[in-house]
């Protein structure tokens, strides 16, 4: 019985965090996203060198196959630094689906290029969760037609993974589709609307007649988003404690006032158990898959709520400065705000959790 990170896992997380602290500063992020760009080629190069995109990819395809807990630790570090890097789709969801549902040929051609950063994936799953269009995406004779809103990381990608209602997943080449950039509050991650009109596609054969693979991919994605929020919220708490320990009013640091101290304590008390929830959910993917769906839903929903709470309280602790662009705290606020809605809103995933228990 050992519910803790190993030395290797701690080392992995601190390596990525240290790299991001040096290479993904707020100034760099501002610079990168100013023209609604959502990837930073230098950052991608550095993270590829650290092996980040191969974290769940088997060694025979050039990955390290460390596992999903390791992936969650990386997601947490990326969220902590609001990194503009398409991790959740390209490094986790796509490798999972291609490894478990792809043909031998798809595995051999796609997985190695993910590890080297040559290809990035957009994730178009709005047919499966949160559909808002009247023309559902349908497959016909190896071609797709319809519309997908809110494609994650869809702006700079070479390929898009698209799901249809039955849980089948298709690979489409980005230049073949009509794309329109959406502008969400969070400028560190892209959202794209995609229109398909008899667009050539390739199915991931394992997803035909087996919707569980897509559902498992969604759960894994939800865990990664929860981890990203955990990291972003932890940074907001750390910044709050630091600010409350330095800022003086009435000749005292404001952190000595209970009104401010208690806001910090409440953030810590809400957030700390979230770390264990994310660890457990991520660990379950390989170790206790029968529990993954339930805990992934809870991790996604609970981190959405606690993330929102921390984002709001942290802004308040920073007073007027928290509200300014000068301080830039809002980048974390907005990342947490977008994460809340992706791959299932909190109420949607809680309802899924209820149904999973037969309630």
């Amino acid at each position: 019985m050992d519910f803790a990170l190993s030395e290797e896992q701690q080392f992995l997380q601190s390596t990525v965090s240290d790299y991001l602290a040096a290479n993904c500063t707020l100034d760099r992020v501002r610079d990168c996203v100013k023209d609604f760009q959502t990837t930073d080629p230098n950052l991608t190069e550095g993270l590829v060198a650290l092996g980040v995109p191969g974290v769940v990819i088997p060694e025979e395809f050039g990955g390290t196959e460390l596992g999903y807990l390791e992936a969650a630790l990386i997601a947490e570090a990326l969220g902590g630094s609001i990194a503009p890097f398409p991790f959740i789709g390209t490094s986790v969801i796509a490798p999972y689906l291609i490894t478990h549902a792809g043909s031998d040929e798809q595995r051999a051609s796609l997985l190695p290029k993910i590890t080297t950063g040559e290809i990035q994936f957009g994730i178009a799953f709005t047919e499966s969760i949160g559909r808002r269009v009247t023309n559902p995406t349908q497959a016909n004779d190896g071609r797709l037609s319809g519309e997908q809103t809110f494609v994650i990381d869809g702006s700079d990608c070479e390929l898009i993974l698209i799901s249809t209602e039955g849980g089948e997943v298709f690979v489409v080449e980005s230049p073949a589709v009509e794309r329109e950039e959406l502008k969400s509050i969070d400028r560190t991650r892209s959202l794209t609307r995609v229109k398909l009109d008899n667009t050539p596609c390739e199915v991931l054969p394992g997803t035909v007649d087996d919707p569980t693979l897509l559902s498992h991919a969604l759960d894994i994605g939800r865990i990664m988003i929860a981890a990203d929020t955990l990291g972003a919220a932890q940074t907001m708490l750390d910044k709050s404690v630091e600010y409350a320990g330095e800022r003086k009013q009435f000749n005292r640091v404001i952190g000595s006032f209970q009104a401010v101290k208690h806001m910090c304590a409440e953030m810590a008390a809400e957030l700390e158990p979230c770390r264990s929830l994310v660890w457990y959910a991520a660990h379950s993917v390989l170790a206790i898959p029968s529990e993954t769906h339930l805990v992934a839903c809870h991790a996604k929903a609970h981190l959405a709520e606690v993330g929102q709470f921390v984002a709001r309280k942290s802004t308040e602790v920073h007073g007027g400065m928290g509200f300014t662009d000068l301080l830039g705290l809002h980048y974390w606020f907005k990342r947490i705000g977008l994460n809340r809605q992706l791959l299932g809103t909190p109420d949607q995933v809680r309802e899924e959790a209820a149904q999973a228990q037969g309630w």
């Binding site: 019985m1 050992d2 320990g245 304590a265 700390e272 457990y280 309630w359």
Partner: protein
């Protein structure tokens, strides 16, 4: 990360299950109700003795003081708690979980032999004399006085929130012995019999309608000067040792988990306007929100257990347990009360009462627990100062009158 127990611990669990299968019929609560009070007390004492003999109670207390004399092992302690809960068999006790560790840590050899063995056997029971009407969160300002007269301390003053004072054989009590010293350095920690002349116990009825607490009045209570734990004026530090042990128990996530199961059962059972409460989207969503919190606290406790089993101080995960756990229990009870509508307000053995009125009882009792054992606001100070390193409130200069 490995959530399995090693072979050694699995064997330990199997041995414990075998013990429980063979002996559970001897435990209190399993032997039926056709016994007098005296017989029931004997059954409880025999059960405790059997558990100590087999190393399932008072595990780490040395044999010479009546314990099982085993090495500390948080995983074994956890397995014992889990299996007794699973078998629904009353667990043993380690005497009083506040007093015994304190006497063992800080008492004299003579005090250990006098106090610990009968406490472990259940023949000497305790109450805690700390809080006073004017000294709650600011406990160190307490004003119950004790002056020395010959070989005795003579105690005058009043304590409050004294659980079990009407039944306890003994009290461990904080009194001011050095009125001239700074407040933290003028306190002593005394132990004495509740039958000592001059003690008056008055039940304190709470909002639940029960008298779980008491007020205790001392009028010229004479206690031999040898019945002090630690030195004169060091009682505050002795007491902090006790508080460390008391706070551990409040906000236990296992309790929240089993309460959640009970909430699910009643929401599935009850209907309003022909609809199962479980199918009402508002209550359903509230339930699921609370389940997310229960799971987070459960895994948080696994993290604490892992730290302890490695001999590490768990830090922040431990500091938040009382604050979060008590609030969570309160909200679980609150959900049921809201969902039951008018039925949720019934109490006092009313007709139509659900679950013997326990949801209102818990909802109120939990509020007491949120306040007691260090209020929620004191817990937030502790988290802010000890875990996050924020500065203390500056001390005001004494206001001159």
């Amino acid at each position: 990360m490995d959530l399995e127990y090693s072979a050694e611990y699995e064997q330990y669990r199997q041995d414990l299950r075998k013990f429980l299968d063979e002996n559970k019929h001897r435990s209190p609560g399993m032997v039926g109700t056709a016994f007098t009070g005296e017989e029931r007390e004997k059954i409880a004492r025999d059960w405790q003795a059997l558990l100590i003999e087999n190393g399932y109670a008072a595990r780490t207390i040395p044999k010479e003081y009546g314990g099982a004399g085993q090495e500390p092992d948080p995983l074994k302690a956890h397995i014992i708690a889990e299996e007794f809960a699973r078998y629904r068999v009353r667990p043993g006790h380690s005497g009083d979980n506040r007093l015994v560790p304190t006497v063992l840590d800080l008492g004299t050899e003579e005090q250990k032999r006098w106090l610990v063995p009968p406490t472990l056997r259940g023949e000497m029971t305790w109450c805690q004399g700390y809080s006073e009407p004017q000294s709650g969160s600011d406990l160190a300002s307490l004003s119950t006085r004790a002056h020395v007269d010959g070989d005795d301390f003579v105690i005058n003053g009043q304590k409050i929130w004294t659980s079990g004072a009407q039944r306890a054989d003994m009290i461990f009590c904080l009194v001011r012995t050095e009125p001239e010293a700074p407040k933290h350095q003028g306190i002593s920690y005394l132990v004495f019999s509740m039958k000592t002349p001059g003690i008056d116990v008055r039940p304190l009825v709470t909002m639940t309608g029960e008298a779980t607490f008491n007020e205790v009045f001392f009028t010229d209570v004479r206690v031999p000067t040898t019945q002090i734990i630690g030195k004169r004026g060091e009682g505050w530090f002795v007491a902090n040792n006790t508080l460390k042990y008391e706070r551990e128990g409040l906000g236990d996530p296992n309790q929240a988990e089993s309460r959640l199961r009970e909430v699910v059962a009643i929401l599935e059972r009850e209907t309003v306007d022909g609809q199962r409460i479980m199918d009402n989207p508002v209550y359903r969503d509230r339930l699921l929100r609370l389940q997310g919190q229960v799971l987070a606290m459960k895994y948080n406790s696994m993290r604490i257990l892992t730290s302890r089993s490695k001999g590490e101080e768990p830090g922040l995960p431990r500091w938040i347990v009382k604050l979060q756990g008590c609030e969570l229990n309160h909200q679980l009870a609150g959900l049921v009360i809201d969902a039951l509508g008018e039925l949720g307000t019934l109490y006092y053995n009313s007709p139509l009462l659900r679950d013997r009125g326990m949801w209102q009882q818990r909802y109120m009792m939990d509020l007491g627990l949120i306040i007691g054992g260090g209020t929620a606001q004191i817990q937030k100070n502790i988290i802010g100062e000890r875990a996050l390193g924020l500065p203390k409130e500056p001390k005001y200069a004494e206001v001159s009158s």
